[in-house]
């Protein structure tokens, strides 16, 4: 908003570019707000657990973040119900909340560690990594 008026005075070409930039910027900001997967790395090493966890050093857990606001597009991996709920939310925002941005696909990690008897355990933990997020 600050930059746009100043640039419009320069030339019409710049204004056209500016509009394009604005659209792109708006889309960029909108995409940033929309439901998406974000990076979250859990470091066993930083926790100081390397004396008993043999592998891995840590893992990418990821998390889901963003808004599930109207209109839900394909990128948001929305369920049919979520789309209906978004419409109802538009009409009755106080009584019906927006759908939630949540993990829709999760996967496991395997952790190799020592117990107190120096036995080695390889354990699979399900649902620890977010593979995909969506509006549900």
């Amino acid at each position: 908003r600050k930059r746009a008026p100043r640039r419009r005075q320069e030339s019409s070409n710049v204004a056209a570019t500016d509009n394009y930039e604005w659209t792109t910027y708006y889309e960029y900001k909108s995409a940033q707000r929309s439901c998406q997967r974000r990076e979250l790395y859990v470091s066993f090493k930083d926790l100081g657990w390397e004396d008993w966890i043999i592998a891995p050093d840590g893992y990418s857990a990821f998390y889901c973040y963003g808004e599930c606001a109207f209109p839900l597009n394909a990128r948001m991996n929305a369920s049919n119900h979520a789309i209906v709920q978004t419409l109802v939310n538009l009409m009755k925002p106080d009584s019906v909340p927006k759908p939630c941005c949540v993990p829709t696909k999760l996967s496991a990690i395997q952790v190799l560690y020592y117990d107190k008897n120096s036995n080695v355990i390889l354990k699979k933990y399900r649902n620890m990594i977010v593979k995909a997020c969506g509006c549900h």
Binding site: E50, I54, A55, Y113
Partner: protein, 265 residues
């Protein structure tokens, strides 16, 4: 601390955690991992990776995590299932282990090291008896399979030229509390010059001991050549003492109880 991308492809710490909060978060993650407290392995645990059991487990971990999306079962079988012997070759009592097939189904794979130190007065028995502490196995875990692995060197004893049969017995209580009875768990016949890991199916014993830890009296190993019973060193079996990478150990495959996957906190 908490780290984040600063927008120019750099990771920076934006918040450092106070000690109290750090402890609470550690406790949260430990709880998620199904542990009540942080395990405190022996101080030399980091140096144990050259030992047979940790080495085997690291190898297994690397195989399983090599292709995160879809572990190739054939690779696992090729690496961990005993290779089929040729026709007519020593397989009288030996049944192929199926534990390798459990690798994908297992939620927990646990290795155990031999705990027999000096609890048996006779040195003779100490070499023949193996005991594995299973008290750390969480309640409710289902045993899918278990195997005992003993390394056999090629026999250099000129007197032994025949095949050697190695019997693994589960020790069970007898009528008298002091008595022990032997129940055959598995048996394997090999050529005297065979060198490599002998893998015995001990699933039944593991099931018994995980359900009743007090019934765990260990295994009794017997090596026979013809009608003669051999000492472990005569049969070239590595027992309590030997190279780190050839010490005997046990591996058990468990499936988690459904309710332990998550719990309300």
């Amino acid at each position: 601390g908490f780290y984040s991308d600063n927008g120019v492809d750099q990771t920076i710490m934006y918040r450092s955690m106070p000690k109290q909060e750090r402890n609470e978060m550690q406790q949260e993650i430990l709880s998620l991992l199904g542990l009540h407290h942080r395990p405190n392995p022996a101080s030399h645990a980091a140096n144990l990776t050259s030992y047979s059991a940790p080495r085997y487990m690291i190898d297994l971990y690397e195989t399983l995590t090599g292709d995160e999306e879809d572990v190739n079962l054939e690779t696992v079988k090729r690496r961990y299932l005993p290779q089929p012997r040729e026709r007519g070759e020593l397989a009288q009592d030996y049944t192929f282990l199926t534990s390798s097939y459990f690798v994908q189904d297992a939620d927990m794979i646990m290795s155990f090291v031999n705990q027999v130190k000096h609890e048996y007065p006779l040195r003779h028995d100490r070499d023949r008896i193996f005991r594995f502490d299973m008290s750390e196995v969480p309640l409710g875990e289902t045993v899918l399979g278990a195997e005992l692995r003993i390394y056999k060197n090629s026999s250099l004893d000129g007197h032994i030229e025949n095949n050697i049969t190695v019997n693994v017995y589960q020790l069970v209580p007898g009528i008298d509390p002091e008595d022990r009875q032997l129940v055959l768990a598995d048996s394997y016949t090999v050529s005297h010059d065979h060198a490599g890991w002998l893998t015995f199916n001990v699933t039944q014993a593991t099931q018994d001991w995980t359900s009743d830890a007090f019934a765990n009296y260990g295994f009794y190993i017997q090596a026979i050549c013809g009608h003669k019973s051999l000492e472990m060193h005569e049969a070239s079996l590595v027992t309590r003492y030997g190279p780190e990478g050839k010490l005997p150990f046990m591996v058990a495959f468990f499936a988690a109880a459904a309710q332990s996957q998550s719990h309300v906190r």
